[in-house]
Symmetry: C2
Subunit: 236 residues, 2 copies
DNA sequence: CGGGCGCTTGAGTTAAATCAACACAAGTGG
DNA sequence: CCACTTGTGTTGATTTAACTCAAGCGCCCG
């Protein structure tokens, strides 16, 4: 049988989740449909209860950045000056719980929910900082390995032959998330497969053969000693 | 109480930063001293009242990402699971106002302040998303032009001959903020100068000769019309 | 005034992008 | 049911933007 690896706290709505859960109506969204667009007035923020969404921003000339993938427990739709600052689309069928925007602005209305929202916002800041390390510091193989690892850590299932991760997004989404091209992402997947670190059941289903080796790849330590690394400039 | 930290090494100041945390209303920090380190327990968040701080994270192997530069009005130090997730250092002498962490967690204690903190957190999310576009989508000249423009928009002074921007951070900081090397940043500054878009009074003082042209550089539209662009593939 | 650090510039290298086929599965319609 | 289209992913060849290594410059501080 399987066991979820992601027993982590979804601290976003830990204490209040039960209260929230009873209150408002669910909202359902079909795969590939949009929840909101950049520039839309923010009427609600949304707690994702089931499914996966994709947050994106695009430049005038069409270049696209995937800002984040939203999984159950995540909150999406925080406003900037009252407006949505990303597009949000469903990658799978999605069930959401809307929270009225006014709750954000009036802390006295529902203090516990307000604190939960602040907590969710801080978690998002933290997640974005990890994402910065990927985009700014890592090379392509490290980015892809880090991506697979983070998906496994948060959303993987333990199977007999290793952690199993389903990737609801396409290669192009992964590429735009990591600041790479689709071709480079594909080559990195292939390299990891040929190294025996992962196996692929179709493009969207990844089995992690060795989490340790994946973690090493994520830090660029995949080549144990092809040549001596001599780094006199590094501070002690 | 004035905090005098002579310069450099973290272990020496770990305890000091805990003392800082208990200090009353206004807090001063000398240039090049640390406010906190990644992994420190969060006792306070800080409103920057004067000066500029730098938020950084480092990978095991020393690669560094500058997450953000904190200017007056910004709030720094939001916790993730109770811990600081970046280092924070003063680039200039800094004056701060500490806010006890418990205010984050108890929304009822001071609802207005709590709402302001949530607002600051959402602003930071928004700013980070802009940063993602830079890191993930833009090439080196666009990154540097975008950086100078954003500094000018937020912190520039209007002078007779154009907007004047002081850059308290060094080229290496800018490089680590943009995911480039120092050399590439320097070359991009030089290219903008030779193009007449900016002028430099020393490395840290930039005069923006033409904000429009800078904005075009930031979007990669620096070449106005060398010849007609014929793009049949672009959607209408 | 001299020394050092931060910045700039140059030459050569490389990692990732680009351009271009090709493979494969899923869906569609004849 | 099978041919055909379409979308998505993989692989290969080539180009290029940015990195690396190395030297030189200039400003600031002692």
């Amino acid at each position: 049988m399987y066991v979820t690896l992601s027993g982590e706290h979804r601290s976003a709505f830990r204490s209040t989740s039960r209260d929230i859960a009873t209150a408002p109506p669910h909202l359902k969204l079909a795969a590939n449909s949009a929840l909101y667009f950049e520039g839309d007035e923010v009427s609600h923020v949304y707690i994702i209860e089931d499914g996966v969404v994709r947050l994106t921003r695009v430049l005038e000339d069409g270049r696209r950045q995937v800002i984040a993938f939203g999984y159950p427990g995540d909150i999406v739709g925080f406003p900037a000056r009252g407006l949505h600052n990303t597009d949000c689309d469903a990658l799978t069928p999605v069930r959401l719980r809307p929270i009225r925007r006014c709750v954000l602005e009036d802390g006295a209305q529902d203090p516990d929910l307000h604190a939960a929202l602040l907590d969710a916002a801080m978690d998002e800041i933290s997640a974005m900082q990890d994402h910065f390390m990927m985009l700014g510091c890592k090379n392509a193989p490290e980015k892809v390995a880090s991506f697979i690892k983070s998906m496994a850590d948060r959303h993987g299932m333990m199977a007999a032959d290793g952690a199993n991760v389903h990737l609801p997004m396409g290669r192009a989404d992964i590429a735009d998330f990591l600041g790479l091209t689709m071709e480079t992402v594909s080559r990195c997947f292939t390299a990891l497969r040929k190294d025996g670190v992962i196996r692929l059941n179709g493009a969207q289903s990844v089995v992690i053969v060795s989490m340790e080796r994946l973690a090493r790849h994520a830090l660029g330590q995949n080549t144990p000693a092809p040549r001596e690394r001599h780094c006199p400039t590094l501070a002690a």
